[in-house]
Amino acid sequence: MDPAAEGTTYPAVPFTVEPSRVAAFRALFGISEGVPPTFVTVAEFAAFPQVLADRHLGLDFSRVVHGSQGYVFRRPLREGEELLVRARIESIRIKGGTGFVTIAMDLEDADGVIVCTARSQMIERATGG
């Protein structure tokens, strides 16, 4: 992973809050109504392929573990709504061969309001042993 990739932004990716996928999430975790907070992960996965394909960043997903995750909501997601997901590389730190990258994603609604910001810290383990 290249620390110089810190600050990279990626083109917005459209994402629809599909009611059937929301229902599957609710059923799996016993939530009776609304959009479960961590459903945002589905939107993150819509934008994640661009990050993985970024050769300048050079993130090796086969060596990645998920370090931490956070969500901040301005309002809850609404079933059926269409959002844009904008990803950026917020920070990169390398310590002794282990890379720490924080990927932030803003979910923007049709009015241009950021309804949720998601932050994922991924840890890329050192090669070899």
Binding site: R21, A24, F25, L28, F29, G30, I31, E33, G34, V35, P36, P37, T38, T41, V42, F45, A46, F61, V65, H66, G67, S68, Q69, G70, Y71, V72, F73, R75, P76
Partner: protein
């Protein structure tokens, strides 16, 4: 939604336990979109040094979120949620989500919760989620 008058610092969330099964984890991969073989293929997981597949960190966090939502009354009351993943979760283990009210903000009324997910393994407590936090809007 929970009302301000009913919440005090130190209140504990009812613990929520669930056994993590292979079927759950596969269903989660399909619902959540993370098809990493670490969560489906035992041979692949062993190549990374695990005894077998592990649950997605986000599976564990979603379970923690369910405990918070149950306490909050509805998903819409949860205005922030975070977790640090500290230990893997293996199949057929029982994960237990819990939390407590650390502080309360006024105007707007927000309960700040510390949250966690623990698992008992080989006579020890491990923490798949440590230092979780949730911010819950109160009426």
């Amino acid at each position: 939604m929970r009302t301000r008058a009913t919440v005090s610092v130190g209140d504990e969330l009812p613990e929520m336990a669930r056994v993590v099964t292979r079927e759950d984890v596969k269903a989660y991969a399909d619902a959540g979109g993370d098809q990493n073989p670490l969560h489906q293929d035992d041979a692949f997981a062993r190549s990374l040094g695990f005894p077998g597949i592990i649950a997605h960190g986000m599976f564990t966090m979603a379970h923690m979120a369910a405990a918070v939502v149950a306490w909050a009354g509805e998903p819409a009351a949860v205005v922030a949620l975070s977790a640090q993943f500290r230990a893997p979760v293996f199949m057929e283990e029982t994960i237990v989500a819990g939390g407590r009210v650390r502080s309360i903000e006024e105007r707007p009324a927000i309960a700040v919760l510390e949250t966690w997910v623990r698992v008992e393994r080989d006579g020890r407590t491990e923490w798949p989620v440590k230092k979780g936090e949730a911010r819950v809007r109160l009426a």
